[in-house]
């Protein structure tokens, strides 16, 4: 059979395979890496996703009383590293794949959390949710919540270091005095 006839046969047998998109849609397969979706209630504001993001689609901005996570889908690679590192499953890849838009703002998501101030120096240092999360974990591990712990955890890392340093110095002085 000549090539032309064979091609004709292929055309007839295989038929039309294109679909009338967007009227006719193919369901996305299981496990598709589509648009990442944020769970506003679950996010505690650790910022791990922004650190992991290779494309800087996720960025964190820290201001006085607020912590802001921005997700810009225009830069997103759908790699899923954010999903892998998130400790609270607050960011998940969905199976949405249609991101085309004429309006840039449609591609931006912003999540804002409240930050807390250090009980020592008054500097804002972490989100309230991270603090709550740490407290809950500590209480579970130690079987209770102590005032000592609250004194420490409400301090920013700098003040905490100073506090421990001072405590150590005190203990050292005391030990020397006793001997």
């Amino acid at each position: 059979m000549s090539g032309i006839l064979k091609l004709l046969k292929i055309g007839l047998v295989r038929g039309r395979v294109t679909r009338r998109y967007p009227a006719e849609r193919t369901p996305p397969p299981e496990g598709l890496r589509g648009r990442p979706v944020l769970d506003f209630d679950a996010c505690i504001g650790c910022g791990g996703c922004a650190t992991a993001c290779p494309a800087n689609a996720l960025t964190v901005e820290e201001a006085e009383g607020t912590w802001t996570l921005r997700l810009f889908y225009g830069r997103c690679l759908m790699c899923g590293l954010c999903e892998e590192v998130c400790p609270k499953d607050a960011i998940r890849l969905s199976d949405e794949y249609e991101l085309a838009t004429t309006n840039r703002e449609d591609l931006e998501v912003e999540l804002q959390l409240r930050r807390v101030a250090c009980s020592g120096c008054g500097k804002y240092f972490t989100t309230r949710r991270v603090l709550e999360e740490t407290t809950a974990e500590y209480s579970e591990l130690s079987g209770g919540y102590s005032d000592d712990f609250r004194d420490v955890i409400t301090l920013c890392p700098d003040c905490r270091r100073r506090k421990w340093g001072e405590a150590l110095a005190d203990a050292y002085r005391e030990a020397r005095y006793e001997s």
Partner: protein, 517 residues
């Protein structure tokens, strides 16, 4: 250095794999230039290192003796500011015409935060044959109409015949190597590496990962190796079918375009099923792969592979019987074996000119050593031979995907890499659809690469385009350039520049930024 490289390539029959310049001025007061040479028939690699003292920013050019060093040395000149003395053609290659002459992006002290002050008076000088006045000039580009890639050719034609060719590349820099050195960690580079190319992304991720794992002395788990082979071969099938479609289109055989792409869509579906995306699989990472292949998915995939084989066989048989298709490809764009060797071209381009080279066979990586496949080689050196090499290569890939999925061993798919020593130079070699992809890596401290040099096969293959085009007709130019299966975005990856140069007029980056706003 020039004589050593010439001897190694000429008398000893080596292949030039890549060359990288690295800035060590901060720690050692010097720059280094590394040539990576390979002997496919023996599975050997050789790194030759030359030092360039700080303050004396020049080195003897290798290009007059070894023509394939041309692009590498031009790149070192513009990115590191080291002048190749005696280079016959020291024009800009990757950076835009209006990039300042005294700013070198790959130097370690170059910060890429703000756009540099651009030169307004710059232009690019094209070469012309000596009797240029006798010919007409035909501009071709800066956008290839069929492969949709930005490259500009300038033909001197005598009627239909092409008498002289010059090309300007460099419209598509994104500065990936610099980004990797300054902003990325070992873990995130594969995702940027994958974006080097829209077609053979996994090849780049694999080449980088291989270089890194070699530097760390790390062996990925067995199952991961087999999955990597399946992913890489799936990508090759998709790439070759894409090319067969586009090549058909370039010679006016649009039924071929539609039908090859119909078959190709099945492999895209398969990729989506196994990796979560039609392209940019995101599978290969240091330590293994990110997704396991579940048993039910494996069975679906194997069924799908048989269907692909059946439909592809039927279609290729019909296409190769077409006299008109053969007539358009036979004898077009010839490249002799001697020229192919002299220019160290890679992949199907070399294999269609009688050079038997295949990194999968000669430098076995992952599970390739345990799998059965052949490397199709043709002697004719024309576009038809390149078509046939790719067409038969596709069968081998289908066979490989089948073997990899059938023989998939058990076990984990990922293991952590405990320690990556600093200052280790390492090479990753992957046989991509277009030829051997070479990544040259120098590890740094603090979880970042010190130098990452991506040498995509097109970087080695494109410089021979003028040789293949000379004396051919203008109508065949498209398919001759296309027969390299060029991937321009692969070949260009060094610095972020917004610039587009048209026929005569230059549009500056500032203007472009204005349009965007």
């Amino acid at each position: 250095m020039p004589r050593v490289v010439e001897y190694a390539l000429g008398a000893l029959g080596g292949t030039h794999m890549t060359m990288a310049g690295t800035d060590y001025t901060a720690s050692l007061d010097q720059y280094v230039i590394d040539h990576v040479l390979g002997w496919y028939d023996r599975g050997l690699l050789l790194i030759l290192r030359a030092r360039v003292r700080k303050g004396d920013e020049s080195f003897p050019s290798v290009t007059p003796l070894v023509p394939c060093a041309d692009w590498y040395e031009r790149e070192v000149k513009e990115s590191l500011g080291l002048t190749p003395v005696g280079h016959p053609n020291p024009r800009k290659l990757l950076l835009s015409d209006d990039w300042p002459d005294d700013l070198f992006p790959m130097r370690k002290d170059f910060k890429s935060e703000a756009p540099p002050p651009l030169r307004r008076d710059a232009g690019f000088t094209f070469t012309a044959p000596e009797d240029a006045a006798m010919f007409n000039i035909v501009p071709y580009g800066p956008y290839h109409f069929a492969i949709h890639e930005p490259i500009f050719f300038r033909f001197h034609v005598d009627g239909e015949r092409i008498a002289g060719v010059d090309l300007r590349a460099g419209f598509n820099h994104r500065g990936l190597e610099k980004i990797a050195e300054t902003r990325m960690t070992y873990e995130t580079v594969p995702f940027i590496a994958e974006r080097v190319c829209g077609i053979c992304g996994s090849v780049h991720a694999e080449a980088y990962t291989q270089a890194l794992e070699r530097a760390a002395g790390f062996e990925p788990p067995e199952r991961a190796k087999w999955i990597r082979v399946a992913v890489l071969e799936m990508e090759r099938i998709h790439s070759h079918l894409l090319w067969l479609g586009v090549a058909s289109h370039m010679v006016g055989f649009d039924t071929g375009l539609m039908q090859f792409w119909r078959v190709r869509d099945r492999i895209m579906f398969l990729a989506e099923l196994l990796t979560g995306n039609r392209k940019q699989y995101g599978m290969i990472v240091p330590g293994g792969v990110r997704r396991d292949i579940r048993e039910d998915k494996r069975e679906t995939a194997l069924r799908e592979v048989s269907t692909i084989l059946e439909e592809y066989e039927e279609l290729l048989d019909a296409a190769l019987r077409l006299g008109t298709l053969k007539a358009r490809l036979e004898g077009v764009g010839p490249l002799t074996e001697a020229e192919a060797r002299r220019h160290s071209v890679m992949g199907p381009l070399a294999r269609a000119s009688g050079v038997s080279m295949d990194a999968r066979r000669d430098y076995p990586y992952e599970a390739y050593g345990q799998l059965e496949f052949e490397t199709p080689v043709r002697e004719e050196g024309d576009v038809l031979a390149r078509t046939i090499v790719r067409a038969y290569d596709t069968f081998e890939s289908i066979k490989l995907v089948k073997q990899a999925l059938e023989g998939l061993p058990g076990g984990p798919v990922h293991a952590p890499i405990e320690y990556i020593p600093p200052d280790v130079a390492s090479v990753g070699l992957v046989e991509g659809p277009r030829g051997t992809d070479v990544h040259y890596l120098i590890t740094g401290g603090e979880d970042t690469v010190y130098r990452w040099r991506v040498r995509a096969p097109t970087y080695a293959n494109l410089p021979v385009a003028p040789i293949m085009l000379k004396g051919q007709t203008l109508a065949d130019a498209s398919v001759i350039i296309g027969s390299i299966d060029p991937c321009i975005s692969c070949a260009e990856r060094v610095i972020v520049v917004d610039e587009a140069s048209g026929k005569q007029r230059l549009v500056s980056g500032e203007e472009l930024r204005g349009w965007r706003a």
